[in-house]
Amino acid sequence: MIDDLERAIEAMLFASDTPLDARQLAARLGDEKTPGEIRAIVQRIAARHDGSGIELVERGGHWHFQTPADLAHLLRRERDDPRKLSRAASEVLAIIAYHEPVSRAEIEAIRGVQTSKGTLDVLMEAEWIAPAGRREVPGRPLIYKTTDAFLRHFGLESRKDLPGIEDLRAAGLLDPVDLAFEEAIGELDLVKDGEEA
């Protein structure tokens, strides 16, 4: 059985929009209670909630209810928001992977187009690249390298697992566009001949 005074103080602390101290509680109770007595009752309330999903905490002599820190993950649920990496970001990531460590200017030289700051930010947010110091050249630009998270995501044991240029060529990934076009046209011609025969 919880006594009336304890119930009253508990309800006041619950319904208050600011933490309350012993003096404020006593004033609202309109009772001749000493801060010491109030404090003892508050301790009882705190002890009663101990180990539950609600805790009474003291901050600079003021008390308030809150949820325990170890349950924060339930109150702030994280939800995945999957996004496909843009073409530009894929190119920058590939260049860093093949040429690391590499500066932004070097990336731009390889790509032949300007690279926005946002693209590098996205790759850093994904934790696939990280700064790797500065290049000791005029301007001391930041240089970037790929991370372990990068290797994990793309299923690579190490950077050596990245296919070489010759592998890429063999896989058709380095075929110039116009050659591929010619081949496609050639196939069309054969089909037409077949029809005539």
């Binding site: 309800a11 619950f14 319904a15 208050s16 929009d17 209810f65 809150q66 949820t67 109150l75 702030r76 649920r77 994280e78 939800r79 995945d80 928001d81 999957p82 996004r83 496909k84 990496l85 073409r87 970001a89 894929s90 190119e91 990531l93 590939a94 260049i95 992977a97 093949y98 390889i110 790509r111 032949g112 996205v122 790759l123 947010e125 994904a126 696939w128 995501h153 793309f154 299923g155 690579l156 990245l162 296919p163 240029i165 890429l168 896989a171 990934l173 380095l174 075929d175 110039p176 566009v177 116009d178 050659l179 010619e182 011609d189 001949d193």
Partner: protein
């Protein structure tokens, strides 16, 4: 209420009249409200109430008010309707009259019961423990939040093909034009000039083509040879003959 005299309904409700109503009848929200209050004054169950007595109370009240102040149209409309009901209730019953005064009175009684029931329900509802008055909730709860975490996705293929595209875009472009199997007009002309001397009679154009040509090369040779034949005909060196559209084309050296 279909028997209401029209002139009462036609009374316009002006702002002044509304103000007067506020002063005189501010306690009542409409005639039904007033009737319910009067019915309550009979201090009996609404089911046993005397409608006749109620009607008389209402009419007395309205005439008293009317002496002092103007009344809103709906109060007068109700007064007229109740005056009619009163006379119908007092006069000997006409069995043919529809609806009967008893039925009209019953209807009024049922309406008053319902309004009274809802008024009481509202009072009991407001007497409950309401949030912010009797019970209190946490003023500023932390709230439950959904935090969206962006998760970037790309496959190894995306990565490698992106690198391939960078390489292709930036490598010095070397254009390798593949040799196409064609027979040029000059070659066809030369070939045809040689052969027309050999063949004396009409011969098919296709017979002039080299027999080892096939595929695209043969089609090219056919096209070139046809143009070459036209050129030789223009020069008057061959005659051309075709028996009809899309028929085979024959040619022969002119007999000069």
């Amino acid at each position: 209420m279909e028997d209401l005299p029209l002139e009462y309904e036609a009374i316009p409700a002006t702002a002044e009249r509304d103000e007067a109503l506020q002063l005189s009848l501010e306690s009542w929200e409409g005639p039904l409200d007033l009737l319910l209050t009067l019915a309550r004054s009979q201090k009996v169950d609404l089911r046993q109430i005397s409608i006749l007595q109620l009607v008389e109370q209402y009419l007395a009240f309205i005439s008293e008010m009317r002496a002092k102040l103007e009344l809103a149209a709906d109060y007068l409309v109700m007064a007229a309707w109740l005056a009619y009901l009163k006379s119908a209730l007092l006069l000997p019953k006409d069995p043919l009259e529809e609806p009967s005064p008893d039925e009209l009175a019953l209807r009024l009684q049922l309406r008053l019961q319902r309004l009274a029931a809802m008024r009481e329900a509202a009072a009991r509802l407001l007497a409950r423990d309401c949030i912010g008055r009797d019970v209190f909730i946490r003023p500023q709860p932390e709230g439950l939040h959904d935090v969206r975490v962006r998760r970037w996705d790309a496959s190894l293929y995306d990565l490698l093909s992106a690198y391939g595209q960078v390489k292709i875009r930036t490598e010095p472009a070397i254009h390798m034009v593949s040799r196409r199997p064609v027979v040029t007009l000059d070659a066809a002309l030369h070939h045809l000039e040689r052969l027309i001397g050999v063949k004396l009679d009409w011969a098919l154009l296709s017979d002039f083509l080299p027999t080892d040509y096939d595929g695209p090369l043969r089609r090219s040779a056919m096209a070139s040879s046809f143009v070459a034949a036209l050129e030789l005909a223009r020069q008057g060196r061959v005659d051309l003959r075709q028996d009809g559209a899309f028929e085979p084309l024959y040619l022969k050296a002119t007999s000069q």
